[in-house]
Structure formats: C-alpha cells, structure tokens
C-alpha cells in the first residue's frame, strides 16, 4: 500500500506540474489579445452544415471549406449538425461565441422555419450576420418524356380548367417547391402537392408515373434532360435559366411572375468581431471569384451566385417579406 501511495504522490506531482505549465500557457494568451483581431484566424474554424453529409448542400459547403482553408491558412472543419430541417445546426451557430470561429451554411428555409408559427422559434435574421451568398438555383418543373403536356402554357390552361387534377411531387412541405404551388393556387391554378422525403424520392415518384410533374432545381433537371429521362417543362422565374435556355418560364406561360429558387450562403452569429467578419467576407469573395471553384460547383449542378454581406442581407429580408405575404404568416 505504501508503495502505491508513493506512486500516487508521483502522479499527483506530475499532474500539478503539468497544470502549472498549462496555466502558464493560458496566461500568456491574453497578452496576444490585442493582436487577436489582426492575427485572426489563429485556430481551426468550424463550419456547421445543418444537413446530413453527402447531399448537394453539404458537398457545396465542403468544396468551399476546402478552398477557405487555403485562403485563411487554418483548417475549416465541416460539422454536420442535423435535425429540425436545419434549425438545430443554426441554433448551435447562433449560440456560439461570436469570435468568428463558428460559421454555418445558411439557407432560405431558415426564414421559413422561424416565420412558421407552428414552429415557435425564438430567433430570426437578427441573430445572425450574413457573410455572403454562395449558390442560387432556380426551381424548374419536369415531366416524363411521354407526358401529354407539350408545354407549360398548355399545362397551365389545363390546370386552370381542372383544379386539383394535376399532381406535383415536392421535396417536402414548406420547401420553395411547395410555396410556389401555394402562390399558384392563389392565382387560380390549383394543383395537388405530393410531399416526399427529398429530391430523389420526388423524382422517382414522377419517373414511375405516380405524379405528373416533379419540382426540382434547374441544374438537376438539365442533367436529367441530357439523359432523356425527364423533359423540362417550366422554369419558375421571370427570366430563363442558364441551364435550360429553351424552357419557357412560368411568367411567359401565365403572365404573372411566380419565382421559386434555392439560395444558400454563409453566416456567423450576430455581433461577431468586425475584424473577423471582414476577413471572412474577403476570403469568401476571393474563393467565389476563382474560376476553378465555379467549375467544380458547376459539375455538381450548383450555380455560384455571389452576393456580398450587405446585398445578401437585403436579399434575405426581401425573401422574408415575400414569404410572409404568400403564406399569410
């Protein structure tokens, strides 16, 4: 037993010594604090992706993270914090220390999430600093190649005459695909929304002929059209899509603009250290100006669409206003 005590003594001594060394280190840290802003970043940065790994949002964020690392000279670690359609990840980001070391991927559904009274969220756009917009993807509709509808004009005339007959597969409730259908219904075009668990299920359901139309990103539809699997039907925008130049827009078909798109960017907590924000903004802009990054995103069907912090913030406020109007929230 005595021997053991002796051993324990040694361990204790070692622990005390180690502790002393550690405190010594941490004490020296505050000395650097003054220059903290100028030498940001000096430790790894966490990029929270509020979706599961492997999806197109995640891949887009990872492609950015890879280049941000070179730009900032620090590792950018992607952390997939999933749940509640992204809100769990966003909450984690908003509650993080506003020191510029925690960012998150931002999406328009952030706004849908807190506007929807059912969700009872207690945070909103005021709790984040929007850094830059990264991707915008216009929504489009596609049908099976043998579909009886030749073009969107014909289709929408049929819809108007037969309310609730034509079905559209969406990737989920309150997605941009669903909200566009609500907007169309208000204009007198009532269609059946079939909500699936995601893009691939929506597509499968349409390919199998169980629904008439699938609502997806224009980039994905471009690839399907190339393969001859699906036929593009309409672009939900006021101008034609770069990916589908020959496809009519909804505005061309019914005269009113019904737009739907996905737009993603990057955000950090509100009141983040201004120096860090500036550094991040500059780095993000530089990556998005790099043609190599644009090309690798393009291959994934993701269209890089840069906006700086101020423009992106205005853009999101505008999305908020429109969504309130359409949904009556």
């Amino acid at each position: 037993m005595k021997l053991n005590l002796k051993k324990m003594g040694c361990v204790l001594m070692a622990a005390v010594l180690a502790g002393a060394v550690l405190t010594g280190c941490s004490k020296s840290a505050p000395a650097d604090k003054k220059s903290a802003a100028s030498n940001y970043p000096n430790k790894p940065i966490t990029l929270i992706v509020p979706y599961s790994a492997g999806g197109s949002s995640d891949v887009g964020a990872r492609l950015m993270a890879k280049r941000l690392e070179t730009e900032l000279g620090q590792p950018v670690v992607v952390e997939n914090v999933t749940g509640a359609a992204g809100w769990i990840g966003w909450t984690k980001m908003m509650k993080a220390k506003p020191d510029g070391y925690t960012l998150s991927l931002m999406n328009m559904t952030f706004i849908t999430s807190y506007l929807n009274p059912e969700n009872k969220r207690d945070m909103n756009l005021n709790n984040v600093t929007l850094l830059a917009r990264h991707v915008q993807d216009t929504t489009a509709w596609a049908v099976r190649p043998d579909s009886p509808y030749k073009n969107v004009k014909e289709l929408m005339e049929y819809v108007k005459a037969n309310p609730g007959k034509v079905s559209v597969a969406t990737s989920g409730i309150y997605t941009q695909h669903h909200i566009a259908l609500i907007a169309l219904e208000k204009l007198g075009y009532k269609m059946k929304a079939v909500h699936t668990s995601g893009v691939s299920e929506a597509l499968t359901t349409a390919m199998g002929g169980h629904v008439d139309i699938v609502s997806m990103g224009a980039g994905d539809i471009r690839n399907l059209a190339k393969e001859g699997t699906m036929r593009p039907m309409a672009v939900l925008d006021d101008e034609r899509s770069k990916y589908l130049p020959d496809t009519l827009t909804m505005k061309e078909a019914i005269g009113t603009d019904v737009s739907a798109f996905a737009a993603r960017g990057f955000a950090c907590p509100a009141n983040t250290d201004p120096a860090a924000v500036k550094r991040l903004e500059a780095a993000l802009q530089k990556v998005m100006a790099d043609p190599e990054h644009v090309a690798e995103m393009e291959r994934m069907g993701l269209q890089v669409s840069y906006q700086n912090s101020a423009d992106y913030t205005a853009f999101m406020k505008n999305v908020e206003t429109n969504m309130k109007k359409t949904m009556g929230w």
Binding site: R62, I173, T204
Partner: protein, 501 residues
C-alpha cells in the same frame, strides 16, 4: 452473353493499378463502420467522399461502394455478440443471433451470416449484370400505394415475432407505432408530441432508439446478473461452420433471402429493414419447428442476413441503370458519380462501360475479400464474448455513447438512448418483446407517409388501393395472412394456449 465480355474487361479494370487497393480499403472501412454501433454506411461514405476528390472516378466509386456493401457484413457482428444492431439492417439478427452467441455458437452465427451475405451479394450482382436495366424500369411502376401495401404485408407478418404472449407483443407493436408519430407531420407540417423540443421535430433517432432498447437494456441485465459471477466462464466457442444437419435448412434460407432481398432492393423507396422482416417471418413460417425461433435458430440468422446484403446489392441496380438512389447511402454514391463528371442515367452503361463494369467487377472482388475477412475472422470476433463483463461492458457503453452522438452530432440522442435503455430494461423484466416496438417504429413511418401520399394521389379515396393490381394483390395477401392467423389462433387456443405465439 455480351455482358460477360464486358465483365471480363471490367475485371481487368478492377484488378489493375491501385483499384484493387481501393476496393480493399473500402470494404475494410465499411466493415469497421458496420461494426461500430451508430456509425453506418451513410456516415462512412460521406466521411471518405472528400478524400476521393483527387482520385479517378472508377477508383473513387470502387472505394465508396466498398464501404456501402462492406458495412452490411460488419453490422451483423454487434447484433450477434452484444445484442446491439450496428445498423438497422441487422436489427432482426439480434433475435436469433444473440441467443446463438449465448449458447457459445457466436462463431457459427457469424460464419453463416458471412456465407449468406456473400451468396446474397453475388445473387444481386448477377441480377444487375443480366437483367438489371429491364427490371429497374419495371420497378419504377411501384409507387406510394405499393409501398403502403408492402408495409401492410410486413405488419401482418409481425405476429410471428411477438414472442410468448400475443397481447404483450401487440402492446409493444402499438407502442412502436406511437413512437413513430413523434415529429413533424410530413403532409400538414403539424408538430406532434414534440413538447416544444426542437430536437424532437424529426422524430426519434432510430439508431439511438435501437441501441437503447436492445443494447443498453442488455447491458443493464447482464450487469445485474453476472457482473460479479466471474467463475462462470462463457461457453467454449465452437466451430464457425454450421452443424451437418443445419446445412440444408441454412442454405435454403440463404437462397430464399437472396431472392427476397434482391426483389425488394429493386424498389426505390423501401428500406433494408423490410426484406429482413419478411425473410425472418417466412423462415419461421416454413420451418418444421417454429418454436426454435428466438432461441437461436440458424435460419433466423441466415435468411435475414442474406436478405440485407442482396438488398444492398440490388439497390445499386436503379442507380446504375436509371440514376436513381434508393437509400441515403446510395445517394452519396450518386453524388460521387456527379462529382467525377459522370451523369447517372439510362445511358451511363453505354457511355461509360469501362467505368460501370469496372465498378461491378470490383464488387465481385470486394465481396470475396469480405468473405475471406469474415469467415476465418468470425472466431476472432467471437472471442469478444470471452472478455470479462466488467471490462467489456464499460467499453461497449463508451462506444455506444460516441456512436449515438456521432449520428447527428448532438448530445440529445445520447440522453435518449439512455432513457430508452432504462425503459428497455424494465420491459425485459416484465417480458415485453422489444422486436415489435422497433419494427413497427421503422415500418410505421413508411406506412404513414406512403398512405398520405397515396391518398393525395387518389384524391382521398381508399378504393384507389384496390384499383392498382400490385397494391391490390399485396393487400389481399395481407388480409389473408391475418385471417388465417386469426382462424388458427382461435382453433389452437383450446389445445396449445398461446405458447406458439
């Protein structure tokens, strides 16, 4: 036989250069994520996806596909040894695999699972090569109404898994269905039973639920029973091959499992649990002595384990031939295709034959590697049961906690696992069967969403289900199964009581 020529060319691609090494890395990593509860093939493929940026497309997909089917082999190990499914496809293996391990036959259970997995995988690959494009197109015709009918068949067969008491089994099944309600309603967007908790909005995390109810409760039971009983050495581990009289039945269940798993794998929108449930139920129905099930019947391991591998292989058919991912892990493979500049779809096989056939050939090799890795190693893994509990249990506990955290990177899931572990402990004490709870939980989610989607398509009319040939047939089968069970149940009551149930 044109396909065979392509396959030989593919074999050339698969063994040349670094591709063989990538297949080895892929399947080894897949085994590993399969073994660790919590980490599954989806997380595994996603983790290694960024590493493939610099690789050639064929090498990248060979490696990622290896993780995907490798995990199906690994998931069995924890189910058999510690009654904790490594992932959902191996859940049903717990029912008979774990009793086998307790009888000292862990090696046999793992061995037969490895053989079955290999045959199932090969069967699905054969299907992919010879009839893939043809059947995949047909499988698309199965939509939400057919999924609904398929799940109803699955539920009607659940009676076979109820354990000793039908009443307790039914209560368990209803409890599982109730748990499936938690979270957002996919059609109306209403929050159900979330009590204002953001963490509950997506419902309960299946893996945490399964690890808690099955695994953790088992740890509590074991801790209570024999943490101090050091003297009782675990039984000596026997041969990893089945006994001579078991070969016949085991091989038959492997063949049935192969066919069943491949068929269901073709249908996008199903999940890997459905073929395992169907396989287990069918094995129990055709067995000469169904009472052995739940007590270490080898068919109860061989059938489902084969079915989930055949399912995994067949699920790649829609990916290669139509560009449709049928599960989240396959969706990541699809992402890898696109990232490397390949457009998945009907023309992929014509445009990039060397890619497609290279990957297919590598899967033959990968399955072979896995068989070699698993069969002799079955006994090595089985040695885990000989580690004293006081050392083994805390370690399993740590792995499980890390595993359940890693799914969504949130502590909530770990807490939930603990809560369900305690619940599972008490349920075991009063002999509530836990299988029905988890199975109805998995099926309940598909049941509800497919029902709602179908009703939207049918404008709210239930008759629609009977106007489509496949869903009508399946529903009639389900109704007959229930009617027959009820009839025989009532008839046998006087003689046997509910012992058979």
């Amino acid at each position: 036989m044109e396909a065979l020529g392509y396959l030989l060319q593919g074999l050339d691609t698969a063994v040349s250069g670094w591709n063989l090494l990538y297949a080895l890395i892929g399947v080894t990593f897949g085994m590993l994520v399969g073994v660790l509860p919590g980490l599954g093939p989806t997380a595994g493929t996603a983790l290694l996806l960024p590493l493939t940026f610099g690789m050639s497309p064929v090498a990248a997909v060979i490696m990622l596909a290896g993780i995907y089917y490798g995990a199906m082999y690994g998931g069995t190990i924890t189910s058999v040894l510690i009654n904790t499914p490594g992932e959902s496809a191996s859940l049903i293996t717990c029912l008979d695999g774990y009793p086998m391990a307790r009888q000292g036959r862990a090696g046999t259970a793992l061995g037969v699972a490895a053989i079955g997995s290999f045959i199932g995988g090969m069967f699905a690959l054969g299907l992919l090569i010879f009839v893939g494009p043809l059947v995949a197109q047909q499988a698309l015709k199965l939509g939400p109404p057919e999924y609904f009918a398929l799940v109803v068949v699955g539920l009607s067969l659940l009676v076979g898994l109820m354990g000793k008491s039908l009443v307790r089994g039914l209560i368990g099944a209803l409890f599982g269905l109730t748990l499936a309600f938690i979270g957002i309603d996919s059609v109306t967007g209403t929050m159900r039973f979330t009590f204002g908790q953001t963490d509950l909005e997506d419902g309960l995390e299946f893996v945490s639920l399964a690890m808690g109810l099955f695994g953790l409760s088992e740890i509590f039971m074991t801790a209570e029973e024999n943490l101090h009983a050091q003297a009782t050495k675990p039984p000596k581990i026997q041969n990893m091959l089945p006994r001579r009289d078991e070969w016949g039945p085991a091989l038959k269940s492997i063949l049935r499992g192969s066919a069943l798993g491949s068929l269901i794998g073709l249908v996008p929108g199903t999940n890997s649990v459905i073929p395992t449930i169907l396989s287990y139920s069918i094995e129990k129905k055709v067995a000469k002595d169904p009472s052995r099930f739940g007590k270490g019947a080898i068919e109860g391991v061989a059938g489902p384990e084969t079915a989930n591998n055949a399912y995994a292989g067949a699920a790649l058919i829609p990916l290669f031939t139509l560009g449709i991912p049928s599960s989240p892990s396959v969706a990541i493979l699809l992402g890898a295709f696109i990232m490397h500049g390949l457009t998945p779809g009907p023309t992929l096989m014509q445009k990039n034959p060397e890619f497609v056939w290279g990957v297919i050939a590598s899967m033959f090799i990968g399955n072979l590697i896995l068989l070699v890795m698993n069969l002799p190693l079955a006994n090595v893994w089985a040695q885990i049961t000989r580690i004293p509990f006081r050392i083994l249990l805390p370690n399993i506990l740590i792995i499980m906690a890390v595993g359940s955290y890693s799914i969504n990177n949130r502590l909530f899931d770990v807490g939930m696992m603990l809560a369900f572990g305690i619940l599972g402990y008490f349920m075991k004490k009063v002999q509530f069967p836990l299988g029905p709870v988890l199975l109805t939980y998995v099926l309940g989610k598909i049941l509800e969403t497919s029902l709602m989607k179908s009703l939207t398509i049918f404008n709210g009319s239930f008759m629609g289900f009977f106007q489509r040939p496949i869903s009508a047939t399946l529903l009639v089968i389900a109704i007959s199964i229930i009617a027959v069970s009820l009839y025989f149940g009532a008839k046998d009551k006087g003689i046997e009581g509910d012992s058979e149930m």
